[in-house]
């Protein structure tokens, strides 16, 4: 059974996304530890990519800063090793297909298993293409996390039936970034998912404040927040861990 399941055992899960190496890997490690201390149930670690086509300007900026600082896939794996000394909650990677492909899918998944990464999210790898990576992932016990979008409609059942770890429900059209309003009928999407799988689902894209998190987690099993956290890191840089911790506490408290 996947380690990821544990993230959903303490009520609604709060899942922060953090781009590794923004502004540097030492700060990322501190941010992750603050996040865990303040109630994060699962950590999404972003491996930066030069051209993140599913991201809005905020996370694009984090990718650029991290790469400019010299972060590589190997350095991110080193970070995971360091974090795993004390971090017990599940951690998953969020990156792009080419980062895994260029590393070698098998080598990448093996390294995930060795270092303690539980799953992987690739936003540019839809259902039709996932087998190319899923085979190696299965071999090493890494969950390939599926995304379901507001436009998925007739595809929801198909995706849910093969889902592993958790399902990432994309709240809105477009790219990542904070939104004032989420208009998609999340409840309807989640009910189709529930008819097809027991795998938990968390909602992400556009969530920035406790009210939104509470609402989205209420409709699902958890809330994923990226851009709002990256904005704090962008603003406070090396001093950001404390502020991220405070923010995560307010979000986790809202969805408990």
């Amino acid at each position: 059974m996947s380690n990821i399941k544990k993230a959903f055992e303490n009520g609604k899960a709060f899942i922060p996304f953090i781009t590794c190496g923004d502004p540097d890997l030492e700060t990322t490690a501190k941010v992750v530890r603050e996040a865990v201390k303040n109630g994060a149930d699962l950590i999404e670690l972003g491996i930066p990519f030069s051209d993140p086509t599913a991201e809005g300007p905020v996370i694009q900026g984090a990718n650029i800063r991290a790469l400019a600082g010299g972060v590589t896939t190997d350095k991110v794996f080193d970070l995971v090793v360091e974090l795993r000394k004390d971090i017990k909650i599940p951690m998953v990677f969020m990156t792009y297909a080419n980062v895994v492909f260029s590393y070698g899918a098998e080598r990448f998944m093996k390294k995930c298993a060795e270092t303690g990464v539980d799953g992987i999210i690739l936003p540019d790898l839809p259902f039709e293409e996932k087998e190319e990576f899923a085979e190696c992932a299965r071999q090493y016990g890494i969950d390939m996390i599926s995304l379901i979008a507001p436009t998925s409609e007739n595809r929801i059942a198909m995706i849910a039936k093969e889902a592993e770890g958790f399902i990432y429900v994309v709240s809105s059209l477009g790219v990542t970034g904070t939104r004032t309003e989420i208009t998609t009928n999340i409840g309807d999407i989640v009910s189709v998912i529930r008819e097809n799988t027991d795998v938990p689902c968390a909602v992400g894209f556009g969530i920035s404040n406790p009210e939104q998190a509470k609402k989205m987690a209420g409709l699902s099993d958890g809330a994923i927040v990226g851009s709002a956290i990256i904005k704090i890191i962008e603003k406070y840089g090396k001093d950001s861990p404390k502020y991220v911790g405070e923010y995560i506490k307010s979000m986790k408290d809202a969805i408990r």
Binding site: T72, T73, N98, F101, P126, S152, N154, V170, G174, V175
Partner: protein, 394 residues
């Protein structure tokens, strides 16, 4: 293996948000491809609006000066809007209209695809937004003005290297945020399936014509067909109907920029490796961790770190050759063709002319080369003048 493969290349590596849109497009295309009314309307537009067929011109003076193979120029520069891009755009715009879409978005590098899309949108009463790297809006300011004149919104893209790849990324992002009324009119044989196939089919008119034109003029097939390759749409169009003719050499000319032994190059097949980006598996310029490289070429239209998946496969199976042409060689060819034949080629097309200048003298006089002049060079005059140290106002 998923759909839309050329050997191992191609596929559909896109966000889930776009999957139903892509499937809808594929279904619509498969329907209209065989719909006689659609084909009639498209042929009508190509013939009476775009000015097809384009002529196959025997460049007698060029041939004589180079002293080798006979050189024919496939004059895509004479199409309405000044390049081959209109072939694909009319097809896609008509298809989008049939699908009930009212808005076209597009990426553009040199601005030729943007101008063609803005043109089709004006003609077919559709909204149009063109994404263009900010760097390219400076290099190709004239085309920015043309697009605006045609009623399109031009969005300068400031991310990354602010060139073609960033324009593609931004157009994809825009499409994920607005799908129901919007068609992404992709300009090259790249991106997720079905785009590489759709664009190739619409551009294949180039070789459909040139093959029968050369048979009519020479009574035989050419020995080589040469075209420039960025994403590769004019090249695949120029090659397609010659692919089964195994004796015809197919040669794609990549932008080497300052040279393939420098970092300032965009010669993907020559310097890249296999990867996954912009919806497809193909060759890309990238580092050892898969980070896409900041490529460079004097030509905004070839300044792209990838190549269409069908070209990647033609390379793998050895059916086509991909050769690098530097900025210097292309600029020389730009000036040389202007002087010898009175034809100012686009700087992109000048890469193909440059290779013909190398190849023709090595071939016997009874051999035949067809070079595709994919576009006209008016848009490049100011940039080439600057390259030669002369500051002129556009």
């Amino acid at each position: 293996m998923s759909k839309g493969r050329f050997g191992v290349h191609g596929g559909q590596y896109i966000p889930e948000t776009l999957m139903n849109a892509i499937i809808e497009l594929e279904n619509a295309y498969n329907h209209y491809k065989y719909d006689p009314d659609f084909q009639r309307e498209l042929t009508e537009l190509l013939d009476n609006y775009a000015g097809r067929p384009s002529i196959l011109y025997y460049a007698e003076k060029l041939t004589r000066e180079l002293g080798g193979a006979k050189i024919y120029l496939k004059r895509e520069d004479l199409n309405h809007t000044g390049s081959h891009k209109i072939n694909n755009v009319l097809g896609q715009a008509l298809l989008a209209k049939k699908m009930g879409k009212t808005r076209l978005i597009a990426e553009t590098g040199a601005g030729q695809h943007g101008v063609a899309t803005a043109t089709a949108a004006a003609l077919l009463d559709m909204e149009c937004v063109v994404f263009m790297g900010e760097e390219d809006t400076k290099r190709q300011a004239l085309n920015v003005y043309r697009m605006k004149l045609l009623g399109a919104d031009v969005v300068p893209v400031k991310t990354g290297t602010a060139t073609l790849k960033d324009a593609v990324s931004e157009a994809m992002r825009e499409w994920t945020s607005r799908i129901s009324d919007t068609h992404y009119c992709l300009g090259s044989v790249m991106g997720p399936h079905p785009f590489p196939t759709i664009v190739r089919d619409f551009q294949a008119v180039i070789s459909l014509e040139s093959r029968s034109q050369i048979l009519e003029k020479e009574g035989r097939l050419p020995d080589a067909v040469i075209a420039c390759v960025g994403g590769g749409s004019n090249a695949i169009g120029s090659f397609y109907h010659f692919i089964p003719d195994e004796k015809v050499r197919l040669i794609g000319c990549e932008a080497a920029g300052r040279g393939i032994d420098t970092f300032e190059t965009a010669a993907t097949v020559n310097t890249g490796k296999i990867g996954i980006f912009h919806g497809m598996k193909s060759y890309f310029c990238q580092d050892e961790y898969g980070q896409i490289a900041p490529v460079y070429s004097i030509s905004a239209g070839l300044d792209y770190p990838g190549v269409g998946p069908e070209h990647a496969n033609l390379h793998d199976i050895g059916r086509a050759e991909y050769v690098p042409i530097t900025d210097d060689e292309a600029v020389n060819a730009f000036e040389y063709l202007s002087r010898t034949e009175g034809i100012i080629p686009a700087i992109e097309s000048a890469h193909a002319v440059a290779y013909a200048m190398k190849l023709a003298p090595t071939m016997d006089k009874d051999k035949i080369i067809i070079v595709t002049v994919s576009g006209r060079g008016d848009k490049d005059c100011a940039a080439i003048a600057r390259y030669r140290g002369e500051n002129i106002y556009e």
